[in-house]
């Protein structure tokens, strides 16, 4: 009899455990085994969906609309690696994230930190030492377009904190950052000019506001809000001639249902909407994945003694273009037209000469050091495969493709007439064919319109990948 006890005991033990695990329904609470089993499932489950602890991981999370997750990753990167050569990119990304969260104090901190590092004046020695490193290992200095955008966001952040003097300085610096571009193409960021004009209105500097809004109307002759703003600034500056002309343009362009009163008394809300994904850096002579195109004539990477002069260039990201319209229950839908294409801004904001010079000087210094090293190593290492992989690594390091990955593809602006009492507003997006994208519909409650000069500015970011993620 006793011989049979052990198998029976094991069987009974198993039977006692099995009921807790084998059911389709969740086990009752309190069973220690079930609690442990659940905890194991949570820890090891594939659906935990944590973002990779890298800048790329944070950027892709942000573009998917996972703003809080992206913030956690990039915040810890910025804290852990303050000396990292890509530190400004952490701060720029944090700036974009804080903008989405409506935290303008944090936007100010992040973008100030980023711009400080990007614009740091290095000593001659430090600059020379930086050239010894491969391009991707050098401190990130940013591009004119990125600096322009960062200064504009900083200006907006100051404006939202009622710090109009600080905002004025930032908008001026945003214009300054565009210098170096081809003649006639500089100073063409309409959103920046419009925000600067608004800031001048807040400061009651109406002549300066006129200058800013005049620029907007030069850049976008068909945009009614630009004419309205110029009319307001001109009226306030007692320039009846320009005010009258601007008003006639506005009347001709603005749909009747969405028109604001000439004296600026119509309560409204300004919407700054960002859509799509910003441009990215791409090495000419490489395919989309970054691998070198074998047909590219400029390839000389097999010879370490030569300098690789492959330049990176801006490339638009193929996020689909969307149309944004905004409406509250009492008014007609107002289109928020695309005011700025950021690929255009990036590709025309100059800096090519500087980049090419840095490339040449950096390449010569870098090839001198690496060539010297390779001549010592060459006799010891004749393995062809190793050489190839080394060349590939060199290619990767010689073209710096880093850029501010959370920038939008397009900026839209609209002033929507909204009653002066808390009201619900809906933003809708449609594709090129006019089909509504349901996953991008957003409802905002309790917004209250105010006269044009004091109208609240609502920032909205439409995540570029959200529609595809939701199956829209």
């Amino acid at each position: 009899m006793s011989f049979r006890i052990a198998p029976v005991a094991v069987l009974s033990a198993v039977l006692a455990v099995v009921p807790c695990t084998g059911r389709a329904d969740p086990p009752p609470r309190g069973s220690p085994f079930s609690e442990w089993f659940k905890s194991v499932q949570v820890k090891s489950g594939p659906s935990s969906g944590e973002l990779p602890h890298t800048l790329d991981g944070a950027v892709s999370g942000y573009l998917d609309g996972r703003v809080a997750d992206a913030e956690a990753v990039v915040k810890s990167l910025a804290t852990e690696k303050p000396k990292d050569e890509s530190y400004p990119l952490y701060q720029l990304t944090l700036g974009s994230i804080s903008l989405c969260q409506g935290d303008y104090q944090a936007v100010q901190r992040s973008l100030t930190a980023a711009l400080e590092r990007m614009g740091a004046k290095l000593s001659t020695t430090a600059t020379g030492l930086a050239f010894i490193n491969a391009e991707t290992k050098r401190p990130y200095r940013g591009f004119p377009y990125e600096k322009m955008l960062a200064h504009t966001y900083l200006g907006l952040a100051f404006m939202q904190q009622s710090r109009s003097e600080d905002a004025r300085i930032e908008f001026a610096q945003a214009r300054e950052a565009q210098r170096g571009s081809a003649a006639g193409q500089e100073d063409d960021f309409a959103t920046g000019h419009f925000l600067e004009g608004l800031n001048f209105l807040h400061r009651k500097e109406y002549n300066d506001a006129q200058v800013s809004f005049r620029k907007v109307t030069e850049l976008h002759k068909e945009w009614p809000l630009g004419w309205f703003a110029l009319c307001r600034a001109s009226d306030l500056a007692h320039d009846a001639g320009e005010a009258g002309e601007a008003w006639s343009h506005y009347e001709a362009l603005a749909p009747a249902g969405a028109r604001l009163a000439r004296d600026g008394s119509t309560p409204c809300v300004l919407f700054l909407v960002e859509s799509g994904r910003g441009p990215h850096r791409w090495a000419s002579g490489h395919d989309a994945q970054g691998a070198r195109d074998p047909k590219a004539g400029a390839s000389n990477s097999n010879d370490n003694s030569k300098v690789d002069l492959t330049l990176a260039e801006w490339k638009p990201t193929d996020s689909p273009e969307i149309r944004v319209s905004i409406a509250c229950s009492d008014t007609a839908k107002v289109e928020a037209p695309k005011l700025d294409d950021l690929y255009f801004q990036a590709s025309t904001s100059g800096g090519i000469v500087g980049e090419a010079t840095r490339k040449l000087v950096g390449g010569l210094i870098h090839s001198f050091f690496s060539g010297d090293k390779s001549s010592k190593d060459g006799s010891k290492n004749n393995d062809k495969n190793k050489d190839q992989s080394k060349d590939q690594n060199k290619d990767d390091e010689n073209v710096d493709l880093r850029s501010w990955g959370t920038t939008p593809g397009a900026l839209h602006l609209a002033a929507v007439p909204v009653p002066a009492v808390p009201t619900t507003i809906e933003t809708t997006c449609s594709d090129k064919s006019g089909n509504n994208i349901e996953s991008l519909r957003r409802v905002m409650r309790f917004l209250r319109g105010q006269p044009f000069e004091r109208a609240p500015i609502v920032y909205e970011r439409i995540p570029p990948n959200a529609a595809s993620r939701a199956g829209g």
Binding site: M444, L447, P456
Partner: protein
């Protein structure tokens, strides 16, 4: 007469312990077992979006008492706003503006216009209606703006 089989002592002892352990395991495994009755899930309670707290974004709701005095008005306590409260008799008649502001300072509550634009995500946050020390006006168009307005958190989708 039946022949008794004697086991080696070690085996007999382990068999006994195993039996005891299995009884204990059975007891643990079944102790919480209750017949499972599938109850249909109750439909989620629909959120009510009723404006409870007024602030700079929504504009002042006439007659609402300042937050610091136990009310629902979270408008920035400027001198002009204080005069509105006096006119509405929602602050004590003999209270001065300085004494009113001292109440906020005494509780360590950060108020605008000096403290603004953080959307209550600053070190003093969350908003006072959620137990924090920040009374900066929430940023329009954000979830926090709606949550402060209605006075409770909106569950994430």
């Amino acid at each position: 007469m039946t022949a008794r089989m004697t086991l080696p002592r070690g085996i007999a002892r382990s068999a006994r312990w195993t039996a005891l352990a299995s009884v204990a395991l059975l007891a643990v495994g079944c102790a919480h077992e209750k017949p499972h009755v599938s109850v249909p899930e109750a439909p989620p309670v629909p959120l009510t979006y009723t404006l409870v707290h007024c602030h700079d974004g929504t504009g002042h709701i006439a007659g609402s008492v300042p937050w610091i005095l136990g009310g629902t008005c979270c408008c920035t306590p400027t001198r002009e706003m204080f005069e509105v409260h006096r006119a509405e008799k929602t602050v004590p008649e003999d209270m001065t503006y300085e004494a009113y502001m001292a109440l906020y300072a005494g509780k360590g509550i950060q108020v605008g216009p000096a403290h603004s634009g953080c959307n209550n995500r600053c070190e003093f946050g969350p908003h006072v209606v959620f137990g924090g020390k920040c009374m900066a006006a929430p940023t329009p168009g954000t979830a926090n703006y709606e949550e402060v307005s209605i006075g409770h958190r909106i569950p994430a989708h």
